[in-house]
């Protein structure tokens, strides 16, 4: 029983992080129909900023908001430098462009810093555990879940209560009608990228406090997880992205505990195989998001 609770918390912790990343992807996809494979690089960028600042002994409670800001700025920067120029291109071109951006960022950090991982100090309390109701739970997990819940609530508030959120949702529903309301396309899109990046920044802070190192290629795995989570829910659905992230996190933990020890390393493999099967059965994701095409 205790193990179940621990795994649940573990799964929700991971899932929360994936949900934040997937949500960022979904926000941009809703407005631009672009699946940004460079999204994971936002974590890389935050990681190197953390590495740099931690050498100046900047405390972690300050590093976290820095991650959020870096994520937002870097994401909007990607849009201005690359995605704005391919805005009305085919989905193929958009995807490949995002790959280009990812490769550039990876190459940049290899040159600017090092191809090897660079370590920084994790917060001292990260591996502390608390005992709650007789179960030992990691502080980091609890913090992740708490932060994720707060941030998601914040996103819901922004999307439902602010003009910014309403405009983004409108743009995702009907971009041209939103233009007709007088909203400039560039502002809507920059806003989407900014929000997306901020969410990635929160996820980065949560990931980096556990990780302890920065390397140029670290973004790839996170990108994969985020993309998969967004697709599970159904691209373009914001709640779908959150559910997808949670499902992915829980599936990871479930597979890891269910698989016999020898092939525990295959967890990710099983997860992806499971995802592939899901996509075959429900090509439009769990929430069956479909876009109509006029004949």
């Amino acid at each position: 029983m205790t193990e179940l609770v621990q795994q649940l918390v573990d799964g929700l912790g991971r899932g929360g992080t994936y949900a934040l990343l997937a949500l960022g992807l979904a926000v941009v996809f809703g407005v631009l129909h672009l699946l940004n494979f460079a999204h994971g690089e936002l974590i890389t960028i935050s990681a190197y900023v953390v590495y740099w600042l931690s050498s100046y002994d900047v405390p972690w409670w300050a590093l976290a908001p820095v991650c959020v800001a870096v994520g937002a700025v870097a994401s909007m920067g990607m849009e201005v430098v690359a995605f704005r120029w391919v805005r009305n291109a085919s989905p193929f071109t958009l995807l490949v462009t995002s790959f280009g951006v990812a490769i550039v960022i990876q190459g940049f950090f290899q040159i600017a810093v090092s191809p090897k991982a660079r370590k920084y100090d994790k917060p001292s309390w990260v591996f502390d555990t608390w005992e709650i109701g007789g179960v030992r739970l990691e502080v980091a997990d609890l913090l992740t879940i708490a932060v994720t819940v707060v941030v998601l609530l914040g996103v819901v508030l922004v999307m439902q209560r602010t003009m910014f959120g309403i405009a983004l949702r409108g743009a995702a529903t009907d971009f041209d009608a939103t233009r007709l309301m007088g909203l400039r396309a560039n502002r809507a899109i920059s806003g989407a990228f900014g929000l997306s990046g901020a969410l990635a920044g929160v996820a980065a802070a949560l990931i980096l406090m556990r990780r302890g190192d920065a390397s140029p290629t670290m973004g790839t795995d996170y990108m994969l997880k985020a993309v998969v989570a967004a697709i599970i829910g159904g691209l373009g659905s914001l709640p779908g992205a959150v559910v997808g992230g949670l499902v992915l996190g829980l599936a990871e933990v479930a597979f890891r505990s269910w698989l016999p020890d020898g092939i525990a390393g295959l967890t990710d493999g099983f997860v992806f195989a499971f995802v592939a099967v899901l996509l075959v059965v429900r090509p439009n994701g769990l929430f069956n998001v479909r876009s109509a095409e006029r004949v």
Binding site: M163, R169, A172, D174, G182, L183
Partner: protein, 233 residues
């Protein structure tokens, strides 16, 4: 108030609008009738800034707004109620109205939403309902109210009676008359010529991308050969 001269717009490989001339004086209701594919929607979309013309000019109260983007047109007091309404189906009725006022300061925007909800009773009742669940007639009212959020002096309407039952068409026509009574100017595109000619002052007839005729509405309404004339039968 509105002067359109020599306006031409291409749409992909098609010249959807050819050398269109049109004018609307302040306080008028002018109808634009004609069969499908005549270019009426293209004309309104070009005026409102969604499409860019390849030739010609659009003037509003003397200001050249030919290539103006939609936000400039809204600030100039021109709002479009688009074809098929294009309400934001995933947003609630109230959010639709709010988005219609995205360019307006927050306090004023809230005031106008309250005003419009008072004016359009069904919208007040269904404030929190996602717009996709509205019936055709309700959606049309929402689309019009949304356009009114910017307090336009010129309202462009594209086929407001599309898909509506006859009794609801009457409601829409009455709305148009009310809008004129409150001092606004209307340019309305319609396939339902008979109904719109009842409420309009003047009408232009379009066919295959060109404006082919212009006359007072009551004159066109009595023309028994109208069907033959403008549908080219």
């Amino acid at each position: 108030m509105l002067e359109v001269a020599g306006l031409s717009t291409r749409y992909g490989a098609i010249t959807a609008l050819r050398d269109a001339d049109l004018s609307v004086a302040a306080g008028e209701v002018v109808a634009l009738i004609g069969p499908n594919g005549a270019g009426k929607t293209t004309l309104l979309n070009t005026i409102s800034g969604l499409l860019r013309p390849v030739a010609g000019c659009v003037t509003v109260d003397g200001a050249d707004l030919t290539r103006a983007a939609p936000d400039r047109m809204l600030r100039a007091g021109v709002a479009l109620v688009p074809e098929h309404r294009r309400i934001f189906r995933d947003l609630t009725v109230e959010e639709n109205l709010l988005l219609g006022g995205v360019l307006i300061r927050a306090a004023e925007r809230r005031r106008r939403v309250k005003e419009l909800e008072a004016r359009f009773e069904v919208l007040a009742r269904k404030r929190t309902v996602p717009a996709g669940f509205l019936s055709g007639g309700e959606a049309q009212q929402l689309a019009i109210a949304r356009a009114l959020m910017s307090d336009p002096k010129l309202v462009l309407m594209d086929e407001p009676s599309l898909g509506l039952a006859p009794v609801l068409v009457d409601v829409v026509m009455q709305l148009i008359a009310d809008l004129r009574a409150s001092g606004r100017t209307i340019l309305v595109v319609e396939q339902n010529a008979a109904k719109v000619l009842e409420v309009a002052d003047r009408a232009y007839v379009m066919r295959t991308g060109e404006v082919v005729e212009e006359a007072p509405a009551h004159e066109l309404a009595t023309r028994t050969d109208l069907f033959a004339a403008y549908l080219g039968v």
